[in-house]
Symmetry: C2
Subunit: 155 residues, 2 copies
């Protein structure tokens, strides 16, 4: 099923990171709701165009499914960092109920990623390209820090 | 007021760390309930003797006031580390609603304390001495890591 923001035949759906995000999102689906869904449909809520973003009010607390998407995204980044550096990467996400917080990824005693989260209600990316771009940036930065301070990452 | 676990005239109540914990605990008291309480009484729930511990069931989720005590304790440790090393120390606590989780303190990109939390329902110390002992141990360890990897702590 092609959604209005992701084409079913998009080559990006085969990107290893995108596949990892899909795996992570599917793993949170305890009731099997996603079983009959295509990857496109599972990923769809992560893609927030300007129009979509505008429709989501930042009122009240972000719901559990939104928060689980944030976690799926940072879990997937951890997996990627882990695969590239060969050391265990652990994500830790702290959110106040209003949707503000901090996401970090640690390797050994080293913080390799540190992001302030705001308006988690609207967590998403303009397009699949933007999502991959962001991930590449975060991963590259993390790997540089690990290379610079390998001893701490191995603690 | 002397409680059954802390003596009003205990010299430990003047210990800088104990005073800091009291400050942190009082800061969570938005309704002024503690205003008329002595430090003894404010600290009292943090001291869990074997008998007291046995009386607290690990059933259901730990309540907010218990969690705020955990936070007060690690905030106070952060303050102490900050004072001793001259760099900002940030605590981050992640708890599942069942009372399991992880507490870390970061300085720059360095994790200077990392503790697994279990049965937060029963968070406390055998005595005020034990509390100070634990804090001294954690602080000493944190300062060693900072000394060993000052460059990362300054990132």
């Amino acid at each position: 099923m092609t959604t209005d923001v992701i084409q079913e035949n998009s080559p990006l759906l085969a990107h290893p990171f995108v596949k990892q995000v899909v795996t992570q999102l599917r793993s949170t689906d305890s009731y099997g709701t996603y079983d009959t869904w295509t990857d496109c449909r599972v990923l769809d809520p992560l893609i927030l165009t300007k129009e979509r973003r505008r429709e989501i009010p930042v009122i009240g607390d972000p719901d559990d499914i939104t928060i689980s998407r944030v976690k799926a995204f940072y879990n997937a980044i951890s997996c990627r960092i882990e695969a590239e550096c060969g050391l265990m990467a652990v994500p830790m996400i702290n959110l106040t109920h209003e949707g503000f917080g901090r996401a970090i990824i640690t390797v050994g005693k080293l913080i390799v990623m540190d992001k302030i989260l705001r308006d988690v209600h609207r967590f998403g990316f303009d397009s699949l390209d933007k999502l991959i771009e962001e991930v590449d940036k975060l991963t590259a930065k993390a790997l540089t820090i690990i290379a610079d301070h390998r001893a701490v990452a191995e603690l």
